[in-house]
């Protein structure tokens, strides 16, 4: 369970060597994330999503307020190792996160650090590389990978760690549509089968219609939250904060407004096909 209370994050900006100013990126944000929850975070560029993500594994520390992971306060240095073991992280830019000299080594990095037995590491690493479809590249150097391939290696590394909580910051931004839905599928599987808590930040809003809960961020604050059907029933708010509306939901709304008796919202393609054929046959 993660408890965020009145969190404020101020970045220091150095205008030159002496002069500095503060930029408020998180502005008094409170949020509880339940164990085993699949939580999605949506918001425009600069709304504070990545900053919030970095607080969840103590990469950043609160300027004000507190962040607690299973009652461990992130601002206490003694808790650092335990928190980092609990919370796995996939960063926004895979270039900054791939460190191994080849794919295998990179994925093994976290496990090596935890001093796992080497035959376990080998098995686990092969498994995770396979999950993201990169088995043909196990021995390849990261400098020879395409953008999407790097992103998949970063995700495999996080899978390998078997953390209790996984935070993913735009993990699919460079993936093709099928790899994208495969990865999202794996996240749901880890969530339902292993009870892993998933926190997914994304601009691809069609990925969030199956989340347990969606949080909307704007200007460092939470401006809306609820189940997908609650959040997507108020499209005006989403438009206001520049969040993309999935095609099916948008189309459903337009057809409903033009007089067809459709649900609000129609969350996915199957549902819209069913409702439209139902109306047609009447």
């Amino acid at each position: 369970m993660i408890r965020i209370e009145e969190l404020v994050h101020k970045y220091t900006i150095w205008n030159d060597q002496k002069e500095q100013s503060k930029k408020i990126a998180i502005d008094g944000l409170s949020l509880n994330i339940k164990q085993g929850e699949f939580l999605a975070i949506l918001g425009s560029n600069g709304s504070g999503k990545s900053t919030l993500a970095k607080h969840l594994n103590a990469l950043l520390l609160p300027s004000e307020g507190t962040v607690k992971v299973d009652d461990l306060d992130t601002s206490k240095e003694d808790n650092l190792t335990e928190i980092r073991n609990k919370v796995g992280m996939v960063f926004q830019n895979p270039d900054n996160q791939i460190i191994g000299t080849n794919v295998e080594e990179d994925v093994a990095f976290g496990l090596e650090n935890k001093n796992m037995p080497s035959d376990y590491i080998q098995k686990r690493v092969a498994e995770c590389i396979n999950t993201v479809g990169m088995s043909d590249f196990s021995k390849t150097s990261p400098t020879r990978l395409s953008g999407g391939q790097k992103q998949r290696v970063a995700i495999a590394g996080a899978f390998a760690d078997d953390s209790q909580i996984m935070v993913l910051d735009e993990p699919t931004s460079m993936l093709d549509p099928r790899s994208r839905s495969e990865i999202i599928g794996v996240l749901h599987k880890l969530n339902t089968e292993n009870g892993m808590t998933i926190i997914l930040i994304t601009h691809n809003t069609d990925e969030v219609v199956a989340a347990d809960r969606i949080v909307l961020m704007n200007n460092g604050k939470i401006v809306g939250k609820g189940s997908p059907s609650e959040v997507f029933a108020n499209l005006e708010l989403l438009r206001e904060i520049h969040v993309e509306i999935p095609q099916i939901i948008e189309l459903g709304e337009r057809l409903r407004k033009s007089g067809l008796p459709l649900s609000n919202p129609v969350l996915n393609e199957r549902q819209l096909v069913n409702e439209l054929t139902g109306i047609w046959e009447e």
Partner: protein
């Protein structure tokens, strides 16, 4: 304008068996808005790096206005000037102290005087919608969309005829993404240029491109209109791609017996087509 004939390429010069591109042929002309799709690792980035000579084909030919680029006498500078490349996450490459200096960098490199470069840089920054007060700001202080606009201005400042962008919308929110694509549309009509972009978002491709190229394992397997591309299930499947959600929807509705005239590739189209048939149906 730019024409490739049987271009093959391998990063590893010794083993041609490891070809990343295989006999790729294409043509890019003024007015084109081309979206390139394909699974990751299929060779999209590798292909577009050939367009401005960053990579050189192992075999095959590249023609700029009918002049063979790989000819000994051809001045590669000309290719670099005519074809502007905007990389994936270009904001990582903004490195000067101010926005204006960053935008001037390309033109100065092409041999323009400081003064000339400043004039074109200012013009293009305005064109992409960067406010004058930001010209002297540090690029790091800009928002994600502004940074990307500055990167595009930097390329436009070299007055290319073709602008090529690798996943220009990745990581952008909806509003910012729409602004970038509208900007690209304006570039085509106002500046009489061609735009080529790589994308993993089928919906963006359907909304903006007028031609779709599909890469599969280093081969360009299809070059068709948006409508034709997304109605060809066989090709989409072969390439491991997907169709826009509304295309899936209209296909399934047609299978279910609702008499739509054709599949739709955008929300606007789908709304129009569906409204029509349902109005008729409910009319009786």
């Amino acid at each position: 304008m730019l024409k490739g004939v049987n271009i093959s390429f391998s990063y590893d010069k010794k083993s041609a068996s490891e070809n990343i591109l295989n006999d790729v042929s294409f043509e890019i002309n003024v007015g084109d808005f081309i979206g390139i799709i394909g699974t990751s690792g299929s060779g999209k980035t590798t292909l577009i790096k050939h367009f401005n000579g960053l990579l050189r084909a192992s075999s095959g030919e590249l023609y700029l206005n009918d002049k063979n680029v790989y000819d000994k006498n051809f001045d590669l500078f000309k290719l670099r000037k005519e074809v502007g490349l905007v990389f994936q996450y270009p904001e990582n490459q903004l490195f000067k102290k101010t926005v204006i200096e960053d935008t001037m960098f390309g033109p100065i490199n092409l041999g323009m005087s400081e003064e000339e470069a400043r004039t074109v840089a200012e013009r293009e920054l305005k064109f992409v919608g960067i406010d004058e007060v930001l010209f002297t700001a540090n690029p790091m202080e800009l928002s994600g969309g502004q940074k990307r606009s500055v990167a595009i201005a930097g390329v436009l400042a070299m007055s290319p005829k073709i602008i090529v962008l690798d996943e220009p919308a990745a990581g952008l929110d909806f509003y910012t993404k729409s602004r970038i694509f509208d900007l690209l549309k304006r570039i085509i009509t106002i500046k009489k240029m061609a735009v080529v972009f790589v994308s993993h978002n089928m919906e963006d491709v359907a909304n903006y491109a007028n031609q779709v190229w599909i890469m599969k394992q280093g081969t360009l397997i299809s070059k068709e209109s948006v409508q034709t591309t997304f109605s060809r299930d066989d090709i989409i499947d072969l390439a491991g791609m997907d169709v826009p959600e509304v295309t899936k929807l209209t296909k399934d509705l047609i299978s279910a017996g609702i008499p739509l005239k054709s599949i739709s590739t955008t929300v606007d189209e789908a709304e129009k087509n569906l409204s029509e048939v349902f109005k008729k149906n409910r009319g009786h």
